[in-house]
């Protein structure tokens, strides 16, 4: 079902950008696990709007209220529901879009799919706002994974063609801008500011790393780690591509270059390189799991664009005002970690069925 994820956990996400709330129901957290609320809020703050110059001016506390499944900070084992109120909504910004769909946005396809009954304000169910409950779920699972020694972190790999340099082997979350190379980060910020000033937008690529995964997670064929992660990551609006390990570049290389030779150290087996991104046959091999996701430029831009009036089928020129991020990539960074955590935690639960009597 569309807004549900998981085989061993079950996540349901609901809400529209301007409905009373957005929220999520998450089943499958073991009774007795603890939640560090402050840590969750810090995680959510990373995707919250209005906190940095490159993001929309819409400001909302985005603090989740838990309605069930947790008591005194301890999960009870039953479904966890958390809601986030939508308080700062200006539906009038969207009056024009009811008839004239934004190029590159889901306005048009939502109109077709829902026969015009969708709640179109703010992008409705297709709004980036829906990543807030996804980050609540992901933020919880990231904590549970950390309890088992597993770390998930990420960086901006490129924006508008500017590539970060260096290797992602530690979190960038505490930095002012989440790149490994701060100078490259500054260049990216400058480019974003330039695009904002021009009424335009820009996209980029995010890289994610999951460290300390045990070997043996995931399943062959349709439930490999790539399948699971891709299914979660493409739920984030604007994602149009994903690659694992050496990905597209590796595909154009030779086997002798792309294969990762095995070696052992102290009785544990490693690979010398990690072109596989930690996944062979869909199953983790104990090396870092790495992937990169392509995030398209924000479709809502001030520059005039050709569209059509869906009622009259006549041409219409659109200049999107409202409050929109000139670059969604920085706010998408924690969402990628959340999506990765969904897939990893689900696979970890699945693995328990195999390893335990």
């Amino acid at each position: 079902m569309s807004s549900s994820y998981g085989e061993n956990i079950r996540l349901s996400i609901f809400g529209e950008s301007h409905s009373p709330s957005v929220g999520m129901v998450l089943e499958g957290i073991r009774a007795g696990e603890k939640l560090d609320s402050d840590k969750l809020l810090r995680f959510l703050a990373r995707r919250a709007p209005g906190t940095r110059e490159y993001s929309t001016a819409r400001r909302e506390a985005d603090a989740p209220v838990f309605l069930s499944g947790i008591k005194n900070g301890v999960f009870t084992g039953t479904p966890v529901c958390a809601v986030i109120q939508n308080t700062d909504t200006r539906s009038s910004d969207y009056e024009q879009l009811k008839r004239v769909p934004r190029p590159g946005h889901a306005d048009y396809t939502a109109q077709i799919k829902y026969f015009g009954h969708q709640d179109s304000a703010g992008g409705g169910h297709f709004s980036g706002r829906l990543t807030a409950p996804m980050c609540v779920a992901g933020g919880i699972l990231i904590q549970l994974l950390e309890n088992e020694g597993i770390r998930i972190f990420s960086r901006i790999y490129s924006i508008g063609g500017i590539l970060d340099t260096g290797t992602l082997d530690a979190p960038t979350a505490d930095k002012a801008f989440p790149t490994v190379n701060d100078e490259k980060g500054a260049q990216m910020l400058a480019l974003i500011a330039e695009k904002r000033a021009a009424g335009d937008s820009v996209g980029g690529v995010i890289e994610v790393c999951a460290k300390n995964l045990p070997a043996g997670l995931g399943d062959p064929m349709f439930d490999g780690m790539e399948n699971r992660i891709a299914r979660a990551v493409f739920a984030i609006p604007a994602v149009k591509g994903i690659e694992f390990g050496s990905g597209f570049a590796g595909a154009n290389s030779c086997g002798s270059e792309n294969n990762d030779a095995f070696y052992s150290d102290n009785g544990r087996i490693y690979t010398k390189t990690n072109n596989a991104g930690g996944i062979l046959g869909g199953i983790t091999n104990g090396m870092d799991l790495t992937f990169r996701a392509a995030v398209k430029p924000t479709p809502s831009i001030a520059l005039p664009q050709d569209s059509i009036d869906m009622q009259t089928c006549e041409k219409a020129v659109l200049s999107v005002q409202g409050r929109h991020d000139p670059c969604i990539v920085p706010r998408a960074v924690p969402c990628m970690e959340a999506a990765c955590a969904l897939a990893v935690y689900d696979a970890l639960l699945g693995r328990r069925k195999e390893t335990h009597p």
Copy 2:
């Protein structure tokens, strides 16, 4: 579940490379639909081994035998089971691999996941052989989609860095080599022959197009067309990346470049460009659905590679003999179409629940 796919159809794939058979069970085909067996066999022949110089010498008829769900060429509406016998297996080729895993292959992770109980001969359940039943399912669905005017076709987009040119707007299946530009195809074939001679292998990228899809297929969030297609495509061994429309390149562009402007013609709405690959918000917009998948170079190569003996944890040098494709890309082409058909047909059935009283 790992080897199952679908929400409105249900596909289960079973078998190991050297088990008595590989096969599939497919539920959800409407009673009364007809099968053109010859057409299915022609489709399956495109992935069959042994028919062309760039593929393995293993030869098998690969003709599916239907055990249920079809009578006199008409589907009965109940689960369809088809099996393909494994006749030409030489398990002795694989004796060494039981202890020394091939770099880049699932030998190692299968050993971990199944505690050494896997049927390792020929790659077992991880073998490319498992794409045969996937192509049976996909080949059936491609026929059903064609009955509704939907065409799915593809081409080799690149091999070893050699890029095809031209636009994919018609099938390449009847060509000697499935590129748009035959000269580029010849260069790719030459490169494959060169790698084979060198005991090496090479990978590439495949592009797929689904034409004449109605707007409105797919669902938001976790069941968007990207999610559905990615889940199916990553089931094909060796796939390490996927991108839709302008994909990674589009991610590094500006909104003013990447957005697809709308226009209308004769009361129908189109976009001037198709950087979205026919998908907005996870839902088809009526333009061609396009994606590219990265296929890594075949890991089994004759060149010596470093590995380890899993029993002794000592270093071992491996030179894979056996019969292996120096480039799996050409045989993966119909598999991509099959995977796409799974996702599209499933979404089409889902859409019926919304459009009909």
Copy 3:
């Protein structure tokens, strides 16, 4: 997943008896369907506590607040979330039960399953309170089914061995007590009052009828109508049995008695009797779908019962005070209709995939 239901719709139910709210997320309602809120509230009032002499004194408005998926009374097509606040909770009533489980209640098994971390107040996630969100979902679907001419209604078939008489062929919902024979209903009420006075409780059987179903709903084997309805009905606490049509009595009869002979009238096919309860091979035959569900007596009773102290493993005598229904059967009546509606609506959506091009 435990608290989720459905293949073509997806219902997730969350909440504990004394958590901030109980609620539900329902996916799969077609965009454009309308909600009659007053009708929904009247439906919910039938299961609400505190309204009649035979029920608990706990009083709550039980009015659902919709957080998403509906705008101006029209469903938007995206997931619908509704919550009901838990306002009138007295957790102190439950202090003793944390250690001494009520015989016949889930206190003990919850303790085992959740390792003592469950929210035990009021029965937690096992409380009859969780049928409130189930009735929100069911109440919505009953309206949608009525729009297609399908009626779901029910009656109390027996309480404490007192059997209703007459045939269920029209709703009993508007009656003071939902039996066909009012005199029998009065006897049942007298028995309930007697058991309440004695500090005891009593159970009974509910009969449900779904009228005007098209033939052809449901699927063979694991998704027959019996399977679907049973899965939904056993989600209602205290249900311990279900039978369709002639059920257990029919099982002890002969084929010549139990078979329903066919006849036709005006080109439509009927059966002379309906021992099949409208279901053959799991699939509706166009006759009334009928089933009966066994509801055990409320386990929480004032009479002293033997239990154990789970900490000390010593014997403890329990007399449950709190506010508890001496007979849950009347309030379970709308829950049965809700469960039936879940199954029927899901099957109806599934049937659309088969009947439409």
Copy 4:
């Protein structure tokens, strides 16, 4: 999906009575588990036709051939496919039934559901023959459960109103007729012979017991043990009712009678009675899990019955000749155990996710 079962295992069943084979695919068996083939064949022999006087004369070896997922008697961890050939089929027996549906059988509903494209010979996908692959799956799981000390066994509780006496606390499988009281069994056999002679049939009730289950299996609401078992049991053709523990009788009793008082012995907690059938709140309490299922009389009888010709809508009188069991109950006994094993094993795997780190 209709012919699939399970959350932690996944069973797909395929085949028609007269298709080349019936069979099953079962995912989720842990690598390294062993199969005792002889034991499986003995289990299957209990449902095989033609072995006893009360069953049909159709004779088939019913020996499953494994196509995947097992090697040298050890499960590999990947999907297990087993097929059983349909060798002894006489389709001519069914010519008349294509137009004139048998009262009480799925002939009519299959015609509606599949628009006349179903394989109607022998009941097609609705045939009792489909319980053979279900028993293959169940027979495997029963062995795995026995390895963990869990026993599943059953008895005929009643046939045609003749009740067995005594308590079900040990298997009856090795008896000539599976009742506790042999005299009652002899009376049942005499009744079956009488009905056969009269061209009629008779139904009955089967009781199942699962012993030594750990407390804590199952989940609240839609995945309680009752829900899971009911979903599996109603997949067996002719089942029209199910009750757990004291069931319908308990429903008409008082709380003070029906509640099972707790006591402890040597630090373990028990109940004095077991009216709950080992399940509280959907979750096992460590007592015997018990249920009874109502099996209707075989609809195919020689006595003339009123039906209609579906093409002309004219009245037709039907006397079913062919080979049919006058009482399906004895052969349904192992099917009940198989269905129970599916539910229990699935719940056991689910529990591993909660109990293990």
